[in-house]
Amino acid sequence: MSAVAAVALAGSGLLLTGGLVALRARLLGAALALQVAGVSLLGGAGATVVLGADPVGSGFSGAVEPAFGIDGLSGFFLASLALVAVPALVFAHGYLPGSAGAPAVAALTAAFLGSLAGVVVARDVISFLGFWELMTLVPAAAILVSHREERARRTVFVYLAVTHLGGAGVWVAMLALARYGAFADPGALGQGAQLLVALAALVGFGTKAGLMPFHSWLPRAHPVAPSHVSALMSGMMIKVALYGLVRVSFEWLPEPTLWLGLVLLGLGLLSSLGGVLYALVQHDLKRLLAFHSIENVGIIALGLGASLLFAHEGEALWASVAFAAALLHTLNHAVFKALLFLGAGAFDRAVHELDLDRLGGLLRRMPWTGAAFAVGAAAIAGLPPLNGFASEWLTLQTLLHLAGLGSLGIGVAGGLATAGLGATVALAVYCFVKVVGLVLLGPPRSREVAEAVEAPLSMRAAVVFLAGLCVLLGVLPGLLLPRLAGLAPDGASLPTHGGLELPGTGALPAPALAVTLILLTGALLLARGRRAAAPAPAWACGQLVEPALSWTSAGFTKPLRLMLEAVLRPERTVTARIEGGVVQEIAYEGEVPHLFDTKLYRPVVRIASAGAAQARRLQSGSLRAYVLYLLALVLALLVLVRTGALG
């Protein structure tokens, strides 16, 4: 057995023990430490494979014997898992004590990490499906352990229902692949089978990844989970679903299919725009972040779709670049989304409140967490020189070149995707300006916030580490690019730079860019000097600035809400209390309903339950009816026999 395999095994062993130890409440710290060690070993094993070590373990097989292995792709996801999980666990060390059912949650965290890793390294159908189901169930259990109230139960049910229904797609896809032995040679898949597998995989993995329109569970489930679990869900779970999608569409389908690429592009566009639009109109921080996960999954899907289309057109280089772009964004999103969720958790701990309109001014009171959170926000908004910009730049480049690929359909699709992604990025900027402004800046909007204190060391350390990762990945994305491009099927080999340098682009020399920006800013600050007059209140046409004048989340996004009224269909009610012709007080209620729920999911559910109610009349309680069923069955069978339909 190779060293890598040994390390991986040791890691899983440590993870397991960490999970078991966690059940003893007193040993929480030790348990988390064990889990950290285990997951970092797993990640290390993965990283070594990504960095060029030979794949370990077996390849995929349709047999029932359990088989495991790590190849480049699995390695990449293992490594990303470790990068997210380690800070999440460190965070949990400060976060869990004092929350409901801490030991159980800690144990479940280990189980969750185990199942995530399991899906990625599984090489046979049964282990894959088994870990897949566990990956769905464990977070549900974690949520239920920490919240039991009606709303949480409802949420968990919706989560399990939607993901499990979609999960049927995964089952069908995997079982069909096994049936045709397509793991070994994809050529064995016939036309019809290809269609079946592709559609099933799209629905199955798409649901779990939160691609619109299968996303309905995501903004519900992620916010209620304990913060470090939400970080793992948003950071890794939906990515593991994408891992499955990548395997199917790039490895197990015979040749890159045009329609699949276009569909991925379309879903990606829908998810990125839809996700960020709905994120913009949220006012609960975690729910907002959840919608942003949908957006970023969309961006990744755009990269994957582009890669398929390039491959279909025979552009090996750009196909692998697009593939790398998708993977790079996967990693980046995992990092900054984990950072943001953990930050949100820290705020929640400090002020027991995540309504954007009740926070504010936390940068002063929680400088470390606040600063790290701001970095994460800037990263997810795609600002240079942070990691979000690097991967979004790469994705945009691929889409832009897709537009020039030479056939009308693909060209227009590429053009639309480019414009859409541009708008998405702008919307993300809009959204996170709002978030940072409302959470970190301005005056505190409630007493708890005014009295907030900085989070304990472990929580601070976690977010600061992740913020550092955001900067590092932003400044040196080029070190990863060739590796990731190499992971693509017939992946092209690219030279290694610090920045991203590709033919057909003006290059993104991230390190130089960062240095330049910093130097110039420094110089300008020096030139500005420290001269400043006495502080003055902000200008409000001469009147005093009162809290009543401060801007709300809804107020800031109002222009866009008005511009997109036709799409978002916001609902508002203004009630004025007038006495003697004088307006005494005005109450304003506004919300943006989630159209996918109101227009798609609820009707379906309503119809289904109505149909079920009708069907339940079969059990009418009358014995004679039942005997009649039997009679009818026998007669029907006899008729079938007589007509030769049967036998």
Partner: protein, 492 residues
């Protein structure tokens, strides 16, 4: 060797009958219980030994007279013996907490043990019957024996359930008997009982006139379906399961249904040459899909605990039908695993109602709520049971369902298997909702659970949970184990 097998066979049928009769002799309740329990242990021992023997020597089946012991009988015997033993062991706990009933209180226990052991004896003899006719007689006997047990509590609903059970299944079995007569009549040179022996039936089937054979087959299947509880003739099942005493419900759901399903399976194997593989398969797949589909809307409704389990039985019988229909080796392995796993999980679920009803009486009529908040032991029993029944890993039912579906794909029934997968996950919605609410919902009224009943629940959970885990562990090795290979060879 053969003699040993035959002796064991007669023992495992004779012991419960003896116990049934002996338990009538004494007049004291405790003594009756003791006799019943001793008899149960003895029976389980004999049947278990027979089962192990059958599984070990699954290569060469033993046929002598009306006794047939092969791999299939081994599997089903083991299941029936295990469930029967557990049911017997929990019975006193149920009998103690019982109010007025069908029988005069003085003799109630005697009647119970009489019915229980006769029922069990009939059940144990079904899988080792070497003959279609005899098998039919025994199945019919189970009806007579269990109908009174279903109505045991004497409540109005119980009477209703018992009556429906009696009438429906008797009519069904009459149709099945007609099928047998047809088969016998159209079997060339049929003279005497031996003509209905599984082996000779299969041999003579190849010369049967096709149409008559098909008629015989569909009549037989339609009739047995009423007893197995395949949709659309399952309607007695939820009523009987929800009204019978928990130990009996467990026997009905975990032992009776699979046992009759085995008879159907054997008939398929026997008549296939005459009927044609396609037709036989189609009938089973039809029943399977119908059962899965019919179960879904009922699972979506907040049901009383036992009724919920009953409808999940409908669903799982559907899975078994599919597995038999697919006929692929993997699917057959799935069926074996499914029968065993379903039996254990379902039995645990039914036993859990004994403590449950003690501290949440209205759970007999409405869905259970928030059990975890009042009695963790009971909650763990119910949770493990329902979790396994909804096919969540690492329960054996997860593996068996993968096996069956994969077998379906491999045998080229991709469409059927895909639909089945969809229906299963639709049914899952109801089960998981019930799981969440019954564990964590707000309890309607929480009496304090007795320590005794929660001890019972805890012990059961431990035993059955361990057994389930063991099954899961063996799951992977199952498909190419000797018994399954023997089954595959037998099923052709």
């Amino acid at each position: 060797m053969t003699d040993l097998v035959v002796t064991l066979a007669w023992l495992s049928v004779g012991l419960p009958v003896a116990a049934a009769l002996l338990s009538q002799l004494t007049s004291r309740d405790r003594a009756t219980d003791r006799i019943g329990l001793i008899g149960a242990v003895g029976t389980a021992g004999a049947a278990g030994a027979l089962a192990t023997l059958a599984l070990v020597r699954s290569g060469e089946p033993v046929v002598s007279g009306v006794v047939l012991v092969d791999a299939a009988s081994g599997v089903f015997l083991a299941v029936i013996a295990a469930v029967g033993l557990l049911s017997a062991l929990v019975s006193p706990a149920y009998l103690d907490g019982r109010e007025r009933g069908f029988f005069a209180p003085a003799r109630a226990r005697h009647w119970y043990w009489l019915g229980f052991h006769l029922f069990w004896a009939a059940l144990l003899s079904v899988p080792i019957a070497a003959n279609l006719g005899v098998a039919w007689l025994l199945v019919e006997a189970t009806t007579a024996a269990s109908a009174l047990l279903v109505a045991y509590s004497g409540r109005r609903n119980a009477l209703e359930a018992g009556w429906k059970y009696l009438v429906l299944t008797t009519i069904g079995l009459t149709v099945a008997l007609l099928g047998i007569v047809v088969a016998y009549a159209s079997a060339p040179g049929a003279d005497g009982l031996s003509a209905l022996g599984w082996g000779s039936l299969r041999r003579s089937a190849s010369e049967m006139p096709h149409e008559a054979a098909v008629v015989a087959f569909v009549l037989l299947l339609a009739g047995l379906a009423t007893k197995i509880g395949w949709a659309p003739v399952h309607n007695w099942l939820p009523d009987a399961h929800s009204e019978a005493p928990p130990p009996v419900s467990a026997l009905l759901s975990a032992a009776l249904l699979p046992a009759v399903a085995l008879v159907a399976w054997r008939s398929k194997v026997a008549l296939e040459p005459a009927v044609g593989g396609g037709t036989a398969r189609a009938v089973f797949l039809g029943f399977g899909l119908a059962s899965l589909a019919v179960a879904v809307p009922f699972l979506w409704r907040p049901l009383a605990w036992k009724r919920l389990l009953a409808y999940s039985s409908l669903e799982h019988m559907g899975v078994i039908a599919l597995g038999i229909g697919f006929g692929h080796p993997l699917a057959i392995a799935g069926v074996v695993l499914h029968v065993a796993g379903h039996a254990l999980a379902k039995a645990l679920g039914f036993y859990a109602t004994i403590p449950l009803l003690q501290f949440q009486p209205q759970a007999a009529l409405r869905s259970a709520r928030g059990v975890a908040r009042t009695s963790p032991a009971t909650a763990s029993a119910m949770g493990i049971s329902l979790g396994s029944l909804s096919g969540l890993p690492p329960s054996p039912l997860f593996f068996s369902e993968v096996f069956v579906l994969l077998g379906g794909f491999l045998s080229g029934h991709a469409a059927v298997a895909a639909v089945a997968a969809a229906l299963l996950s639709l049914g899952f919605l109801g089960l998981v909702h019930a799981l969440i609410e019954s564990m964590l919902g707000e309890p309607r009224d929480a009496r304090v659970p007795e320590r005794r009943s929660s001890r019972l629940a805890a012990r059961l959970t431990l035993v059955v949970g361990a057994a389930l885990l063991a099954l899961s562990v063996t799951a992977i090795a199952l498909p190419d184990s000797a018994p399954v290979e023997a089954l595959v060879r037998w099923a052709g």
